[in-house]
């Protein structure tokens, strides 16, 4: 039997071998930091610079220490609350804006759309100072609202939802209109369920983005009780020495919700990314 044939007799194309090789290398590159994170979280502080992937003397001591420290739980819940609230807000407001832009004809519609799109071109770093000044003037500094407000609606989300709502045939909405639904009920009961894959994708992007948000929460918060998980974890390095094993343990625990989210919604993530043509 030639090398190019599988046991079943099907031909394996060289292109396929190349693709698998590239995917394997890509996977390895992606997985290595993750594996090291878990590995380091099982090491003692003395073993951190021992680069072996499998720790010589694995221990769960770090996990016990992190979980016993009430602050970690607090940061974890802060992140959970903030990411969930911002995600829900995005799902509602982005889809309202997207739906309006996709399905209603009004004067200035194109202008509004361009204005929203153009905000995508402004980098976050440029927005942080205005956000900070605004928070300061409104008295939102060092508060949950202060952390959340810039992300409650996103131009990207509105754009994404607009694209998806455009694929919903008008007949569905008109049928509902004839059946006597109000415009709000049409959006909520007909249009929203029909773009469920897009909503899932938006929910995932939004949740992950906020779960891992670091820069703005770091700037706007001063009380340790209001830290989000990434800010809190980073504070392990701000003390006398950098405690890598603690940082890695915190990070490992922090990936759990995202892993669960991914496993639950894997199907939608793939579909969402394919449909939206985005990178995750």
């Amino acid at each position: 039997m030639s090398a190019g044939l599988e046991a079943s007799g099907r031909l394996i194309r060289p292109g396929r071998i190349l693709a698998w090789t590239l995917l394997f290398i890509g996977g390895l590159i992606m997985a290595t930091p993750l594996l090291y994170m878990f590995s380091t979280s099982l090491k003692t502080s003395g073993q951190v610079y021992d680069l072996r992937l499998i720790p010589a003397d694995p221990t769960l001591k770090n996990y016990v220490e992190v979980l016993k420290d009430g602050r970690f739980l607090r940061w974890f819940l802060n992140s959970m609350l903030i990411a969930t609230a911002v995600t829900l807000s995005n799902l509602i407001f982005d889809s309202l804006v997207g739906y309006t832009l996709a399905k209603f004809r009004f004067r200035g519609r194109a202008l509004v759309f361009i204005a929203i799109l153009s905000t995508l071109m402004i980098p976050t770093e440029m927005l942080v100072i205005p956000w900070y000044l605004m928070s300061s003037q409104f008295g939102w500094l060092d508060s949950y609202w202060g952390i959340m407000f810039p992300g409650m609606m996103s131009a990207f989300g509105a754009f994404l939802m607009k694209q998806f709502f455009e694929t919903v045939p008008d007949d569905f909405l008109e049928a509902a209109r004839v059946d006597g639904l109000s415009e709000f009920a049409i959006w909520w009961r007909i249009a929203m369920p029909m773009v469920a894959p897009a909503l899932s994708a938006l929910a995932i992007f939004s949740f992950l983005g906020n779960w891992t948000a670091f820069f703005w929460p770091l700037i706007v918060t001063t009380s340790r009780d209001l830290y989000t998980l990434p800010v809190g974890i980073s504070s392990f390095s701000a003390e006398s020495s950098i405690r890598w094993e603690m940082i890695m343990t915190g990070a490992a625990l922090g990936t759990i919700p995202t892993l669960i989210l991914f496993l639950l919604l894997q199907r939608y993530i793939v579909r969402g990314v394919m449909l939206a043509g985005l990178k995750g």
Binding site: F172, E174, D179, G180, P193
Partner: protein
């Protein structure tokens, strides 16, 4: 049940007038079909009746009340769309029940209505299925069911059978027609398919370029088309037209011999129309109606008859031969049409002048 009246109904998009002052009465319980080519304004007219399109001018009356400014839901009409518009995230039962969204009925009453509609349409075993698991015909029935449960004043159908295959379309035509007989409701139906119009309508409205060309029963339109467009649009295959000339009360058509009384108002260049089913392959009696020799270009044996595509002089026509007769392509065959079957049109205005 309701009478629908269009009084000078028009639609403008900016400066473009797409529907011109339509006057039409659709009687209570009547099945009216708007037919015409794409872009003739038939769907726009239907959407104005539904309230999905604003009325630019004129008045629309449903059940004697002017409804120009009323929302679709206030007009008590139900509409069935071309792509069915049944919601993919709901079961068949929920979809049918959705028609009762705003109805002030108890849950049991709603359920009873859903079951009744499902029973009428043969959807009972499918009530818990999702639309994705249904065939095209079943989806269309669900859409009709959703319209039915509301017991509306009128049903509006917007090309509902366009997405179905030919066999299913024929079946659904008969189902909609028998449904109309049972419910006795007013139906306004839009299609570009003249067969649908002919087979289903009590009244056909032929539209072109935003205007009504002719209104009448299917046979009236078939027998007495008001102009060339209607004559060719109604009836399949289309009526053939031969150029002719009327002078001194006599009609001359190149390559054909015609006898009969020419209508007095006909003079000058005319078009002589003959329907395929009136034009038979075979030698006629001299002096009786229409006789000509035609060059056979193609034959379509349909079993019961053979459609024979022929050329008479410059004009193309379709003649019928009996089912087992297959004229040879390239041969010359005699064709005839009985007196009184020819339609005469003015060549310039294309208006009907009468029959010969």
């Amino acid at each position: 049940m309701a009478k629908i009246e269009l009084q000078g109904l028009g639609k403008r998009y900016g400066s473009a007038q797409v529907v011109h002052a339509l006057d039409l009465t659709i009687e209570d319980g009547e099945f009216t079909v708007f037919v015409g080519p794409s872009g003739c304004g038939k769907s726009t007219t239907l959407r104005m009746i539904a309230g999905l399109e604003e009325i630019s001018e004129g008045r629309l009356l449903i059940g004697g009340e002017m409804v120009n400014q009323r929302e679709p839901k206030q007009r008590n009409i139900a509409m069935v769309f071309q792509n069915y518009a049944i919601y993919p995230h709901m079961t068949v039962g929920q979809n049918i029940g959705f028609g009762l969204y705003t109805a002030k009925l108890s849950k049991a009453e709603k359920q009873a209505r859903i079951l009744e509609a499902a029973k009428t349409l043969g959807l009972e075993p499918l009530l818990n299925r999702r639309p994705a698991a249904l065939s095209g015909g079943q989806r269309q029935r669900v859409a009709i069911g959703r319209a039915m449960v509301r017991d509306p004043a009128a049903f509006l159908f917007d090309e509902p059978l366009s997405n179905l295959d030919a066999q299913l379309r024929a079946q659904m035509r008969m189902e909609i027609k028998s449904l109309h007989r049972r419910l006795g409701s007013t139906i306004v139906y839009v299609t570009h398919d003249q067969i649908e119009a002919m087979t289903m309508a009590d009244q056909i409205v032929v539209m072109k370029e935003g205007r009504i060309l002719q209104t009448g029963s299917p046979l009236e339109l078939y027998e007495n088309p008001a102009d060339v467009f209607t004559a060719r649009f109604i009836g399949s295959p289309s009526m053939a037209l031969l150029k002719g000339e009327v002078s001194g009360g006599a009609l001359r058509v190149a390559g054909a011999e015609i006898s009969g009384r020419v209508p007095a108002r006909a003079s000058g260049p005319v078009l002589v129309g003959v329907r395929p089913h009136d034009l038979e392959v075979g030698a006629g009696e001299p002096g009786a109606g229409f006789r000509a020799m035609g060059l056979v270009e193609a034959v379509e044996p349909l079993g019961a008859e053979t459609l024979t595509h022929i050329r008479i002089g410059e004009a193309q026509a379709v003649a019928t031969a009996p089912g087992r007769v297959l004229p040879e392509v390239g041969s010359m065959v005699p064709v005839r049409a009985a007196p009184g079957t020819l339609h005469l049109f003015d060549a310039a205005s294309e208006k009907a002048l009468g029959r010969i």
